[in-house]
């Protein structure tokens, strides 16, 4: 508190000295001011004057009062001096009062701080005492605590022991109560609970069985457990409750320590019983008496009943008897195999019933379902090979289906042929000549094609993406290439060719019954197949079935060659048949006539007209299906009349020598020389696929027959003349049908020459007369 004495002395108050103090005061003030400023952190920002060293600066550090006064006195007038003096005095006063306030305030603070410190000093002293007391108290507590612990030590051990005894007693109690509890559980049917109790007690009882009391309990328990097991088995055997309950029973029995092997035998036997029942019901569906449900329904039943049951059994078995190891798995596999095979046998029987049916989509769906259902047990029981067997069945069915389709295609083809036969027979009755062969051909072709397409479509169902077995290698490869392409399509085309060929193989009774128009139509059909249809069908097949298999397939060219060969044989046979018809006519006409006593010819014989008519009809018939073909250039488009003139003039020259009744050697020689220069005629030779070639073949056969028949007869003069007339007539009309009219000339020449040879009195008719008769006829 003594420090408060410091402060501005009363003697040095402002205005004490007008001059001296006045000069010193600002300096002091300034010192004090600067310190305050320092204290309050004010910068000397407002320090006027650019030069801090300026001694005249009132606020500067180097202020020199003398120089300032000097300067004032020198520079300022009086009034200004006065003003500055008052101003200075005022400033000094203001500063003084400021300082006074500050000092005062700080003084107060200092006083209060001093008071506080003093008070604290007192308080601390008190606290020290308290602390000392606390320390002593704590020491006392520690002491006590140690003493208590020491006294409680032995009692704690006894409590622990007692607690242990208590637990043991409870366990013992459980054991003693166990028989009654088990009995109760068994009575209540809570087998699970009973088994759990038993399981808990078993080990203990096992361990302490040498003690008589425990032995008694154990015996009791065993009796009860045996009963329990008995009951479980009973329940298990009764087994009406389905697989899950059974599985539970087995699980409990296993927990009871029953021999697993025996159990799994029994389990399987039981499952077998149930599955066999399913099979029996399936078999009953197969039976003939109730109307068999459709195949889809059948496979559904089978899938749900048998396959589902098998799945359950297998799953439960694997869960329960997993510990059995490979032997158990093997047992299950054998079980599944055996039942599976019986199931498959049933399914196959059912599918066999379906073979005749035509609804492929239903069958495929049924197969799909069948196959799909078997995938689950197949995955479960890979060893039983169920999935493989199922796939095999599906494959077999697919194969049989293909066979069936092939059969139905063949039947369709034969049906077409029957239709054609009827159509060929019908218009003839109506008296209409020449049924629309081209139309019939188109009908047959389109009907066969549509049948093929239908078959392809229905077979295609087997490879549809959504069908579960379509990605099996068989269906991806062999089915497409060997089955569909080779077996079905190629097989059908082949069998078509064979069927067609069979018409020309037996010229006896069967061949005679075949209408020639049918031969012609078939021939054209085969030819069309060769040119276009085969490659179209095969392309279609390849596209639809995306044949990826590498196995060799019949190339299109081979099939085409076969079809062409068939067409050729059919056409050749057609020529033979038609030639035979005309031949028969000619032969009869030569054989039945008495040529020796015939009258002078007046007319062409009717049979020759008939021959020409028939040939024309054949020409029309063939023209419906086959193109014209090429003639030798020699054949002009001359009309009949001009030809007749031309031919008769030539005829004269050619026949003349042979008609003169010269020695037979001459004719011989002549005809021999003629033959030397003409080519040998193959009468029954293969024909080409055109009208002219066909007609040439028929005419060749007919004329050769005529020749041979004439050689077997003996002619009178008029007989020879009749032959002459007939031959001329034939020549007039037949040349236009053949490729090389020279051929007709040659054969007819030979006929007339032979007739002349067979005539004892050969006097030929005048060619002009022959012409007249022919033109008239």
């Amino acid at each position: 508190m003594a420090a408060a004495a410091t402060g501005p002395g009363p003697g040095s108050g402002p205005g004490d000295s007008p001059e001296g103090p006045e000069a010193e005061a600002p300096e002091r003030r300034r010192k004090a001011h600067g310190m305050l400023k320092l204290y309050y952190g004010l910068s000397e920002g407002e320090a006027p004057g650019p030069d801090p060293l300026d001694p005249t600066d009132l606020n500067g550090a180097h202020f020199d009062p003398e120089m300032y006064l000097d300067k004032l006195r020198r520079e300022c007038p009086l009034a200004q001096l006065m003003d500055s003096e008052t101003d200075m005095v005022r400033q000094i006063r203001a500063l003084d009062s400021d300082m006074q306030t500050l000092v005062y305030e700080n003084y107060n603070k200092f006083i209060s701080a001093t008071d506080t410190i003093r008070k604290m000093k007192n308080d601390f002293r008190k606290m020290e005492d308290e602390m000392d007391r606390l320390a002593t108290n704590m020491a006392v507590i520690t002491d006590f605590s140690a003493r208590i612990s020491a006294t409680l030590q032995d009692r704690h051990e006894r409590i622990t022991k007692l607690a242990g005894v208590h637990a043991l007693l409870r366990k013992l109690q459980f054991l003693f109560e166990l028989p009654s509890r088990l009995t109760k559980c068994v009575e209540l049917g809570a087998y699970g609970q009973a088994v759990r109790y038993q399981g808990r007690a078993r080990a203990v009882l096992q361990q302490y069985q040498h003690l008589p009391s425990f032995r008694a309990i154990q015996d009791d328990c065993q009796v009860i457990t045996a009963r329990l097991a008995q009951q479980l088995r009973q329940q298990f055997r009764e087994g009406g409750s389905g697989a899950p309950e059974q599985a539970e029973c087995v699980e409990l029995l296993l927990a009871l320590g029953e021999p697993a092997e025996e159990l799994c035998e029994e389990f399987l036997a039981h499952a077998r019983g149930r599955l066999e029942q399913e099979l029996r019901s399936l078999e009953a569906e197969l039976g003939p008496s109730p109307p068999a449900p459709d195949v889809l329904e059948f496979t559904d039943h089978g899938g749900n009943g048998f396959v589902g049951g098998l799945c359950q059994v297998a799953a439960a078995y694997q869960e329960l008897f997993a510990a059995q190891g490979p032997a158990g798995a093997e047992k299950l596999a054998a079980f599944a195999r055996e039942l599976g095979s019986r199931y498959f046998a049933l399914v196959e029987r059912r599918l066999a019933q379906e073979q005749g049916g035509s609804d492929n989509s239903l069958l495929v769906r049924a197969l799909d379902r069948f196959h799909r259902r078997l995938r689950a047990p197949g995955a479960l029981l890979a060893a039983a090979g169920l999935a493989e067997a199922a796939t095999e069945i599906v494959e077999r069915v697919a194969r049989e289906r293909l066979g069936h389709h092939l059969q139905s295609l063949r039947a369709a083809f034969l049906g077409c042929l029957t239709d054609v036969r009827q159509a060929l027979a019908a218009p003839r009755l109506a008296g209409k000549e020449g049924p629309g062969l081209a139309e019939l051909l188109a009908n047959v072709a389109s009907s066969i094609l549509s049948h093929i397409k239908a078959s392809l479509a229905s077979v295609h169902l087997f490879t549809a993406k959504e069908v579960s077995f379509s990605n099996k290698p068989y269906f991806r490869g062999e089915f497409c290439s060997q089955g569909v392409r080779e077996g079905l399509i190629v097989g059908f085309i082949r069998s078509m060719c064979q069927t067609a060929q069979s018409y020309c193989d037996s010229p006896g009774e069967k061949g005679g019954a075949t209408p020639p128009a049918l031969l012609l139509l078939l021939s054209r059909l085969c030819l069309d197949y060769e040119t276009a249809t085969i490659s179209y069908i095969l392309t279609l097949t390849d596209e639809q079935f995306l044949v990826q298999d590498q196995s060799p397939v019949t190339p299109v060219s081979t099939l085409c060659a076969e079809a062409r060969e068939t067409a050729r044989r059919l056409l050749t046979h057609y020529v033979k048949v038609q030639g035979l018809v005309i031949s028969q006519m000619l032969r009869k006409s030569v054989e039945t006539r008495d040529w020796l006593s015939t009258l002078e010819p007046r007319n062409v014989r009717a049979v020759m007209k008939r021959v020409v008519e028939d040939t024309t009809a054949i020409d029309v018939q063939v023209g419906l299906l086959y193109e014209e073909g090429v003639r030798k250039a020699q054949s002009s488009d001359s009309s009949k009349r001009t030809f007749s003139v031309y031919s008769s003039s030539r005829q004269q020259g050619r026949y003349a020598p042979s008609y003169t009744p010269s020695a037979p050697m001459d004719t011989n020689l002549l005809s021999n020389i003629q033959k030397l220069f003409s080519e040998r005629i193959d009468v029954f030779s293969p024909v080409e696929f055109n009208k002219v070639s066909v007609l040439t073949g028929i005419i060749k056969i007919s004329l050769k027959t005529l020749l041979e028949c004439v050689r077997l007869r003996t002619f009178g003069r008029f007989g020879l003349q009749q032959v002459q007339v007939d031959c001329h007539f034939l020549q007039l009309y037949l040349w236009r049908f053949v490729a090389d009219e020279e051929l007709v000339h040659l054969l007819l020449d030979e006929v007339v020459a032979s007739a002349a040879l067979r005539c004892p009195d050969p006097v030929p008719m005048e060619p002009s007369v022959v012409e007249v008769i022919c033109e008239r006829g």
């Binding site: 035979l580 011989n668 029954f684 040879l757 004892p760």
Partner: protein, 343 residues
Amino acid sequence: MEDDAPVIYGLEFQARALTPQTAETDAIRFLVGTQSLKYDNQIHIIDFDDENNIINKNVLLHQVGEIWHISASPADKGVLATCYNKTSDSKVLTCAAVWRMPEDSEPGGHESPDDSASTAHTLELLCHLDNTTHGSMACVTWEPTGDGKRVISLADNHILLWDLQESSSQAVLASSASLEGKGQLKFTSGRWSPHHNCTQVATANDTAVRGWDTRNVTEPVKTLEEHSHWVWNVRYNHSHDQLVLTGSSDSRVILSNMVSISSEPFGHLVDDDDLSDQEERRPEEKSQEPPQDSVIATYEEHEDSVYAVDWSSADPWLFASLSYDGRLVINRVPRALKYHILL
């Protein structure tokens, strides 16, 4: 080894009838009958000299008519039978007669071939086969193993069995049978069965030759279609009956090896019933590989229809064929095949 070239002989007339001289087993000899309406018909006896490839001929006149069929007696080489056309005005009837050749007409005589007509001998008529009640005769065949006393003839649809008595000077109709069939049948050809148990027959129809088993006639055993016109004549070789000769009006002669319709056994399968031919066949048992049916050769020497072919009775490897224009061709089985069969 080159095969011998065919030997060709020309007749002046048309001819259809050809037969080997059956009773002659030493010389290769064929009889050919001509067909001529205007001139006297002839029977040419053609003797083939195998060593020198030379043909000797002898001409006999057959004045009654043109010859449609000829057959030689198996017992007496001087005796033959013909079917011939008798042409009266406005009527043709085919008759049959048995003839004896003159003794001195044996070939090897000194007749020159070109003036045959002047030196021709006439046949001596032994007897007529009286067929007035049965219609035209189609053919006459002798009982092949008999003593030349029994003859079968075909007349329209009758089979007639004749007994030739008193050294063939008289023919008595021993029995006749009429063959029934659909339509008006005219049978044109008949043969004695060469074996007692014969089950193999070949027939010709159109261009096809079919082998039949007489126990089952619904289906032919074998069909050969090599000719391009009618087959007129089929002949089995007498001792190796897998060799089949066919003549056709396409002017070809085809020699086929038709094992499947022959009685030649495969390998060691010897038919016990076939005892008559056992001696000949024994040495010919062939290697085990079954031979295939095949065409051995096609002969194209003819230029007209071939109506007759036949094997020589003396040499089983030699055969003759006759075409309508009077050309006779003698051919041999190719040597390679011959040795294959024999060895």
